[in-house]
């Protein structure tokens, strides 16, 4: 029964995430447009874009190698696996025992690696520039992510996301300063990973400062659809991850029935909508920073994560 429930929630979770991803991107775009006083495209627009792009044949440069062909699939599959591991409306999914936070970081790194390779493959200036920036940002973002995860694992005694979320939901830990600091560090990493505004501007591909879009300039048709879908999945996964770790309320516990799932689903939709609104407000209120300031921004995130871990060492008496 437990296995059957796990299988069912896993399948439902995947379907939910696959459907939610374009909706999240479209919703954030729509909210931003409304806040800037424009009417904005319908939140369903990304679905239409994807349908159109999927029907088109990719046009590859003459000197494109097999990397250009394979990279989109590697990126999407790595992100999909990561998405399958992050709980949305229920705990105890079939793959939950595999849902290790360090594994998630590695899967994201794999997707990023594929994207950077695809950007450099044809040898255009913008592709290489975008890839170089993406990788240098990652060099700062990943240590911050891992140190933030360290404080999670000190508190929960494990790096398994399901177990961490369950520990936080029980509320025995209370409100912790170190968790707040680690949370801010994670938010900064999430903004960087998803190429959102203080780091990169998702609304443009006509700027010398672009990072994510610069790597996609050469992809078209099906490949472009895959990359865009990958970006949407990644954004949804990060929001779901933040919701799972910091707002673990209302999630159906392992082995519960359909009614609890429904409640969990409602809670999840509310949380995601809240995150989307927060993201839109944040992006409308803040300007993109210069590329050379991003390492400072991420360095600050890393230092906050370090601080969180240091405070934890103090309070747990390890130091």
């Amino acid at each position: 029964m437990q296995t059957l429930g796990g299988l069912l929630t896993q399948a439902l979770h995947l379907v939910l995430m696959l459907l939610a991803a374009p909706l999240v991107v479209g919703g954030v775009r729509w909210l931003k447009a409304r806040m800037l006083g424009r009417r904005g495209a319908s939140p369903l627009q990304p679905f239409r874009d994807l349908r159109k792009l999927l029907r088109k044949r990719p046009v590859l440069a003459e000197n494109a190698s097999a990397v250009s062909e394979v990279a989109p699939y590697v990126g999407v599959v790595a992100t999909l696996v990561a998405v399958a591991l992050v709980p949305s409306f229920a705990h105890g999914m079939l793959l939950a025992p595999l849902g290790d936070l360090v594994l998630l970081a590695a899967l994201l790194a794999l997707a990023r690696f594929a994207l950077a390779l695809a950007g450099m493959d044809v040898g255009t200036g913008f592709g290489g520039l975008g890839a170089a920036r993406e990788m240098s940002f990652a060099a700062f973002a990943e240590p911050a992510l891992l140190v933030a995860l360290l404080s999670f694992s000190i508190l929960a005694g494990t790096t398994n996301l399901d177990a961490v979320a369950a520990t936080f939901r029980d509320g025995l830990l209370g409100l912790r300063v170190s968790l707040a600091l680690a949370g801010i560090a994670l938010l900064a990493v999430a903004l960087t990973e998803n190429a959102r505004i203080p780091v990169d501007n998702p609304a443009t591909h006509l700027e010398l400062t672009m990072v994510h879009e610069a790597m996609l300039l050469e992809s078209s048709g099906r490949h472009l659809a895959l990359w865009e879908y990958e970006a949407a999945l990644k954004l949804t996964m990060w929001l779901a991850l933040l919701a799972a770790a910091f707002l673990p309320f209302g999630v159906a516990p392992a082995g519960s029935g359909p009614l609890a799932w429904l409640l969990g689903l409602l809670a999840w939709v509310v949380k995601m909508a809240g995150f989307a609104v927060a993201l839109a407000v944040f992006e409308s209120a803040i300007a993109k920073m210069r590329v050379f300031r991003v390492p400072e921004f991420l360095g600050a995130a890393l230092l906050l994560a370090l601080l969180a871990a240091a405070l934890l060492f103090v309070s747990t008496g390890l130091a």
Partner: protein, 247 residues
């Protein structure tokens, strides 16, 4: 009296917010943003004091909170903003140390605060140890801000952020007499006035609030030429008038 009890958690979280705002102060480059962050830190301090007042059922702490809020979240930031407007300060803050380096120094300073706070609180509750470490960190970060900034306004803000840390430590201790806090608050106001006058004076003298302009007037440089001048000057000429012009 451990984690998981909401009153202590919230007090703790407010302390953490103050530490975070200290880092924000250290991270910001623009004078306006520094003043805003300082105002927020004052507001959080007022909240922390009020919360402690409710927890210790010590009504005088509400007064402390009120003083902190009016002085540090409203009046001083408004005055600082007026100074910025009146002096028409350029918007960029020049830091003596880069942002990255000062953030790193900040974390080192917090580590130092933890190392200092740990041995002297052995046997105390974990939460008291962490709270003391937080308050000490805010104090030291204020000092660091005074060192790393060359803009006089940011240095004033650093000084007052340091004082915020002191008050945070004071309100956390049950039975701290109000007199002490009131006098500290008054002291800060005096310090602020003095610092404001000082800023004006610097501005008048050097046409800038960049304390780097003082470098030319270090004691050694100013005094060294004097004997030479005295020996080369003709005995009949009035040296005092010349020196007055040069100064």
């Amino acid at each position: 009296m451990t984690y998981g009890q909401l009153p202590y958690d919230i007090a703790h979280l407010l302390g953490g917010a103050m530490l975070l705002l200290s880092f924000v102060l250290l991270y910001q480059r623009r004078v306006q943003a520094v003043i805003n962050a300082f105002a927020m830190q004052g507001a959080v301090l007022a909240m922390a004091a009020a919360w402690q007042g409710a927890m210790q059922s010590a009504p005088e702490l509400y007064l402390t909170a009120l003083v902190a809020f009016t002085a540090k979240a409203v009046l001083i930031p408004l005055a600082l903003r007026a100074i910025v407007r009146r002096l028409n300060l350029h918007r960029a803050v020049e830091t003596a140390l880069g942002i990255g380096a000062s953030m790193m120094a900040g974390v080192a300073v917090v580590a130092l605060a933890i190392l200092v706070a740990l041995p002297i609180t052995t046997g105390a509750r974990a939460i008291a140890r962490e709270d003391l470490a937080l308050a000490l960190s805010v104090v030291l970060l204020g000092m660091l801000m005074m060192i790393t900034r060359r803009n006089a306004i940011s240095q004033v803000v650093g000084l007052m952020s340091l004082e915020n840390g002191l008050v945070l430590a004071a309100v956390g201790v049950a039975g701290m007499p109000l007199v002490v806090e009131l006098s500290t608050a008054a002291l800060v106001l005096v310090v602020f006035v003095v610092a404001g006058v000082f800023v004006f004076q610097i501005r008048e003298r050097f046409d800038s609030v960049d304390t780097g302009a003082f470098a030319a007037n270090h004691g050694e440089d100013a005094f060294e030429p004097e004997p030479e001048e005295a020996s080369t000057a003709p005995p009949g000429a009035p040296p005092a008038a010349q020196r007055g012009d040069a100064g």
